[in-house]
């Protein structure tokens, strides 16, 4: 199944530096150059102070689990993922931005909100594309 046409693609939005960063092996996240606020989703203007100066700052791939779900149903576009799989919202350390990602789930132990996790850069195949993503593990 090709998801083309329906959705926004990598590298044509305000978050292009994020995707380019992952491709280069780095986690880059946007911070307002005017007021220092972390901004996510990425934007071209800070709604809080009005600055259009966006800085992309490297962060370590360390986070805590904000919330999670374990998917058992075969939804379209998830064909490349073995069922069940765990998706999480991860709060990135030293900035507070939350990222969607996948969590290794070898023993099907339920994630705990607040649990510390570490990430590595991988990819998810969707249709004919490999979308870079952070795959998180506990400990």
């Amino acid at each position: 199944m090709d998801s083309g046409g329906l959705i926004m693609h990598v590298n044509d939005g305000a978050d292009a530096p994020y995707w380019n960063g992952l491709a280069e092996g780095r986690l880059l996240l946007p911070r307002c150059g005017g007021c220092g606020r972390w901004m996510w989703p990425a934007m071209n203007r800070c709604g809080a102070c009005g600055s259009e100066d966006v800085e992309w700052i490297q962060r370590e791939m360390r986070a805590t689990i904000f919330s999670w779900t374990r998917t058992w149903h075969r939804f379209g576009y998830t064909e490349s993922l073995d069922l069940p799989f765990v998706s999480i919202v991860a709060t990135v350390a030293d900035c507070g931005i939350r990222l969607l990602g996948r969590l290794d789930d070898p023993d099907q132990v339920d994630p705990v909100i607040g649990e510390g996790i570490a990430g590595r850069i991988g990819a998810t195949r969707v249709g004919t594309r490999d979308i870079p993503t952070i795959i998180w593990s506990r400990g």
Partner: protein, 388 residues
């Protein structure tokens, strides 16, 4: 008094509903039938309808309906933004805005959904929302987004998971007694419900709404005009639509306190302020439940309970008509009445206020219609069979 307070009313209703994939008519045909039924219900000439409002990706542009309806002149044609069912109550507010401002005089609010014509609803909803961040995480369906938020509500905010079952049971109880419901005549099997397959934890199959084929239509006119038509008016007393800062970003970075909510805090605030009503004034609730946990979150947002006392309020016995103090989804709701993108909840709101519900709430005067919870933009409305 707010300009929407008691100035317009639903004068006629019509619905056609079938199992998913089983509509005998294409989508536009089912919709035209529903509109004609709504007009006949009110004793109103369908050719005199001059406005149309829908929400959530309906494919039926009103101008295309004119030949079949015999419409003389189209004066208002609009839709509430947003891909989910968040706009359902807002659609009535939009129709009322047209009437109160004199831009149209007889407006049909509608939603039609026939899978053979327009595909699966869940896919249409997600087409609004999907981005590469979600795809890469394997998050592709409304059930998964709502599941992540539900886990946060259960684990972090201490809402007991058992309340979801209470809500689902109440919907099925009502639906099994409603001849117009898909679940009519079938009592829910608790073991089957509890052992049903996982979709996305914490949701099993029975925590998820259905999808059905069909259409429903509501004729709205001024309150004064409604009083001269065939059926007793269901007055619109208030309506609020929108989102507040810190909600609706699609990448799960909502304000932390708002994250596990259904997005209705600002909507409820405005709705109660505009109408001068409070949760204790509401006699019956038609609650859009896409998923069980979001239905519970919506009840909390609207002030019917709190994180602390939710288990005392959201109990099966308390939610069912005629004896419960907080009757919810008396037609069966999206779980059991049927799911044409939630429009059945508005249908039951009017039936209940007319005394035509299969599960009547004794002396019901005010009904809250809560739109699709968890959507980036949400809406709610209060209807009454009198103007308090």
């Amino acid at each position: 008094m707010h300009p929407l307070y008691g100035t317009t009313a639903v004068a006629g209703i019509g619905m056609r509903q079938y199992r998913r994939g089983a509509s005998p008519l294409p989508e536009q045909g089912a919709l035209v039938e529903a509109i004609l039924t709504a007009c006949a219900d009110a004793g109103f000439d369908p050719a005199d309808v001059d406005g149309f409002v829908s929400y959530g990706d309906d494919k039926n542009e009103p101008v295309r309906l004119m030949p079949a309806l015999g419409t003389r002149e189209l004066k208002w044609s609009s839709v509430v933004w947003g891909g989910g069912g968040g706009g359902i109550a807002g659609a009535f507010g939009l129709a009322a805005a047209a009437i109160v401002s004199g831009q149209a005089s007889a407006v049909i609010v509608f939603r039609a959904l026939v899978e053979g014509s327009s595909g699966r609803l869940s896919a249409a909803v997600m087409a609004h929302h999907l981005n590469d961040h979600m795809l890469a995480a394997g998050i592709v369906a409304p059930a998964q987004v709502c599941a992540i938020r539900a886990n946060r509500m259960y684990e972090h905010h201490g809402v007991p998971r058992s309340v979801a079952e209470e809500l689902v049971r109440a919907s099925y109880y009502h639906g099994s007694r409603n001849p117009e419901a898909i679940a009519y005549g079938t009592d829910i099997d608790l073991d089957e419900m509890r052992d049903s397959r996982w979709i996305a934890e914490p949701f099993r199959l029975f925590d998820c709404s259905r999808e059905n084929d069909g259409a429903a239509a509501f004729l709205m006119v001024s309150a004064e005009r409604a009083r001269d038509l065939k059926k007793a008016p269901a007055y619109l007393l208030g309506c609020a639509n929108g989102a507040e800062r810190g909600w609706g970003d699609l990448l799960e970075n909502d304000d932390e306190a708002l994250y596990p909510t259904a997005g209705f805090r600002p909507i409820a605030r405005r709705l109660y302020a505009d109408t001068g009503l409070t949760p204790s004034d509401i006699d019956v609730i038609q609650l859009y439940e896409n998923f069980s946990a979001q239905g519970v979150a919506s009840l909390i947002d609207h002030g019917f309970c709190t994180y602390e006392n939710v288990a005392e309020v959201v109990r099966f016995e308390n939610l069912i008509a005629p004896t419960g103090k907080l009757p919810v989804n008396t037609g069966g709701g999206n779980f059991a009445q049927g799911f044409i993108h939630g429009i059945g909840t508005a249908y039951e709101a009017v039936k209940q206020l007319r005394g035509e519900s299969a599960n009547p709430v004794p002396d019901a005067k005010l009904c809250l219609l809560a739109g699709g919870p968890g959507a980036p933009t949400v809406s709610s409305a209060i209807f009454g069979n009198e103007i308090p």
